[in-house]
């Protein structure tokens, strides 16, 4: 390990709380999003235990409603949205493009503080009366009828929005102006492309949710009528504005995970990614088309049937870039040299789960089928496959992939593989039964349900306990490895990105000298610095195609 690096360059609590080093800020985020993950996870566990019996005797209906609302708010706004961008993105983007830091390091630190302030408001709401509106805050339930602490929660999410906006702004500017010499747009790692696309959504979507929740909050505090039909407002307008952000927000969660997978797969298959420009382009396509589909959450609100037809059609269009990515990842494996190390297991798990999550989305985008499935457990299962099976798997996989870079040490491989398999099994057992429940018609957000649904609920709860174990394991061995793990060296896998050209853990300024890039991305064959057996290759077929 290098003698001096970003972790030991300065000491003391002040040096962390006032740091402008993107790597340290990433670690601050790592700690805070993990905190919210465990809060949200605790709520989820209580929900699953409660649903063991149809009568649901563990908690009262009020408490149950608060549990699923707070689970959603904590997980979506304070874990999933910041997780990969603010932790891995923050840590890696400057290194991947060969910069010393993000363009605006102070603003980066400011985003973390804004996140904390927003988080405090939300925790305050959780602690004083909780929140029982559903994470969607549909009016007039949230703005008039709910008796819970809606106002602080809305303010918290409003504030937190600025954290996302500033992070997105920082990434966009950094990618535009801070690239090292030779780092052209089409040499950028796909992880950076994915984050660039994510940032577009941060920039264009987040302000809308901020203003919408502000209006709903004002409506609640001052008894105004923007979304209240009794005072002449329109509750459906709230849904339009809400989903204008919140549907693209789904892509905020999944795009960075796709970026992680696009790094892991070529590294562990040791060959260039198949169709680089298609994967990069599909990220941008998802970010852009993702803004045209929001009203597919509203097919049954009584929205115009013409609008419903349009939005359903556009929703199918947004499925195409995701399909293109999946096909390309699969083809990357063809004739690779595939290693079964932990990050690759997550990559494999991601493809499988994202496939199910994505394909079930086609059912929901289909107008006729959505009439039946809308607001049932089918929806719950679908978006958990995307958000947990996709985004969280990507996040945990990415943490394993870059852990040696972040800490300079390797984790115990055997334990890590066990955890990956546990997560995969636990996840499927938890959420696959929910597809069946949804098809049978069990509505979501029910604290008690007809007894015929019990079997699948018990299965789901059993799966959830395995899943919980799967999350605890990495927590333990990753923490352990920070001190006792094997020293990793600069490039343990080896991988081709610029971030692996510097020491692990990196120096405060990332590189001794600004690197110059003169190679194509994921080009294992021409990288003699990686110590690989390029000559031993059976057939060096001439590269053809789009690259």
């Amino acid at each position: 390990m290098p003698r001096e690096h970003y972790l030991n360059a300065t000491y003391g609590i002040r040096s962390w709380l006032l740091t402008t080093d993107h790597k340290r800020i990433a670690l601050l985020y790592l700690v805070s999003v993990t905190f919210f993950f465990f809060i949200g996870g605790t709520f989820a566990s209580l929900i699953r235990i409660h649903l063991l019996t149809p009568g649901g005797y563990l908690v009262t209906p009020e408490t149950y409603n608060k549990l699923f609302t707070m689970h959603g708010v904590a997980m979506i706004f304070f874990f999933l949205i910041p997780s990969i961008p603010a932790v891995l993105g923050n840590f890696l983007i400057p290194m991947m493009i060969g910069a010393k830091d993000l363009a605006f390091p102070k603003i980066n630190l400011l985003s973390w503080y804004i996140y904390l302030v927003g988080g405090c408001f939300v925790l305050y709401s959780f602690a004083t009366g909780g929140l029982d509106t559903g994470w969607t805050f549909y009016t007039p339930l949230s703005s008039v009828y709910s008796n819970s602490a809606v106002t602080p929660a809305v303010i918290g999410i409003f504030i937190n929005g600025f954290s996302s906006i500033l992070t997105g702004l920082n990434f966009i500017v950094t990618v535009h102006t801070m690239r090292a010499p030779g780092m052209t747009w089409f040499r950028l790692p796909l992880f950076v492309w994915a984050h660039y696309a994510t940032s577009i959504i941060f920039i264009l979507g987040t302000p809308v949710i901020a203003i919408t929740l502000l209006l709903a909050g004002l409506e609640r505090m001052l008894h105004l009528g923007f979304f209240n039909p009794v005072l002449g407002g329109d509750p459906i307008l709230f849904q339009h504005l809400f989903w204008f952000y919140s549907h693209p927000a789904v892509y905020i969660m999944i795009l960075p995970a796709m970026g992680v997978i696009s790094e892991i797969i070529p590294t562990f298959a040791r060959k260039p990614i198949f169709g680089y420009s298609f994967i990069a382009g599909s990220s941008i396509a998802i970010a852009v088309i993702g803004f045209f589909v929001w009203a597919h959450h509203m097919f049954l609100t009584g929205e115009s049937a013409y609008a419903a037809l349009t939005f359903s059609f556009l929703s199918y269009l947004v499925a195409i870039p995701s399909a293109v990515k999946t096909f390309n990842w699969t083809s990357t494996l063809y004739k690779g040299s595939i290693s079964w190390e932990t990050p690759m297991l997550y990559g494999l798990g991601f493809i499988g789960l994202f496939l199910i999550g994505g394909l079930t989305g086609l059912f929901l985008a289909c107008l006729g089928v959505d009439i039946h499935l809308h607001d049932t457990y089918f929806v719950i299962a679908h978006f958990h496959y995307i958000m947990v099976g996709g985004a969280v798997m990507g996040y945990v996989g990415g943490l394993h992939f870059w852990w040696p870079k972040i800490t300079g040490r390797l984790y115990p491989e055997g334990l890590a593989k066990t955890a990956a398999v546990t997560l995969f099994v636990g996840f499927n057992l938890t959420f696959f039964p929910q597809f069946i429940l949804g098809y049978l018609g069990m509505p979501r957000r029910y604290h008690s349900y007809p007894p015929e649904f019990q079997v699948f609920n018990v299965m789901s709860t059993a799966g959830a306990s395995i899943l919980a174990l799967g999350y605890l394991l990495p927590m333990i061995y990753l923490t352990w490895s920070m001190r006792y793990g094997k020293v990793a060296g600069p490039n343990p896998w080896p991988a081709t990105g610029l971030e692996w050209k510097t020491a692990s853990p990196p120096l405060t300024e990332n590189f001794d000298v600004t690197p110059e890039v003169n190679w194509e991305p994921y080009d294992f064959d021409n990288r003699h610095d990686l110590g690989l057996d390029v000559k031993g290759h059976p057939s060096l077929a001439p590269a053809h195609g789009d690259d």
Binding site: L169, I203, I211, L224, G225, G232, G233, L237, L241
Partner: protein
């Protein structure tokens, strides 16, 4: 990151720094457009539902003050643009003078806005506080007029908040400019605050006809 003169450590050149800062500001303004956009959306829908009452309510706000404010604010945009120019050509004293003028015009705008708010308060036109549109108007008209005034206060209030933030930035700029910090080489803060100030002006350019000029015939 250490700093050499006006160059922050993460950048290689002043050009790169200026470019980044300017792009950053523009991207920030995009978020502002969408931020106000949510309100414009709410406004559009509500006005399309209650065109008559929106007209009636709009006629009750003071057109003269609104028009004067429009002129004042566009004037402040002019002085802001002039201070950017002064910085570019290196007339350090002019920078300060134009910044001060901008601040004065901005304050005049806020002052007039205050007078308008006070009028509305006296007329019971502030939503949530004993709102009563016209003596004897029925519940429905009242509710719909309250929608108009909710939007009026939300939109102009948010706009005024931006003005106040802008004024704060101006005060800081004036302080720095007094020290002679801005010159032909380095005027990024003036440029950025200028962009922000003009944006706030643009918001008002739309707010004025949408709120003050409905059915004035």
């Amino acid at each position: 990151m250490h700093r050499t003169g006006e160059l922050y450590g993460q950048f290689e050149t002043l050009d790169q720094q200026r470019e980044s800062a300017s792009l950053g500001m523009w991207v920030f303004l995009v978020t502002e457009v969408l931020f106000f956009g949510g309100m414009f959306m709410t406004y559009t829908l509500n006005r399309s539902m209650y065109p008559e009452i929106f007209g009636e309510a709009s006629r009750s706000i003071n057109l003269t003050l609104g028009a004067i404010n429009t002129i004042v604010l566009i004037g402040s945009s002019l002085t802001m643009a002039m201070s950017v120019w002064a910085a570019q050509v290196g007339k350090k004293q002019l920078v300060t003078i134009f910044l001060i003028l901008t601040l004065i015009l901005g304050s005049v705008f806020l002052g007039i806005k205050g007078v308008e708010y006070h009028e509305k308060f006296v007329e019971h036109h502030v939503p949530g506080l004993n709102f009563n549109f016209e003596p004897g108007s029925d519940a429905g008209t009242n509710a719909h007029a309250q929608l108009f005034f909710s939007l009026y206060f939300a939109m102009t209030g948010l706009h005024a908040l931006h003005m106040i933030i802008g004024a704060g930035l101006l005060i800081w700029l004036i302080k720095e400019s007094f020290k002679g910090r801005f010159n032909t080489e380095y005027s990024t803060p003036v440029d950025l605050v200028g962009l922000y100030w003009h944006f706030v002006d643009i918001v008002w350019i739309f707010l004025f006809p949408l709120l003050y000029l409905i059915d004035r015939h």
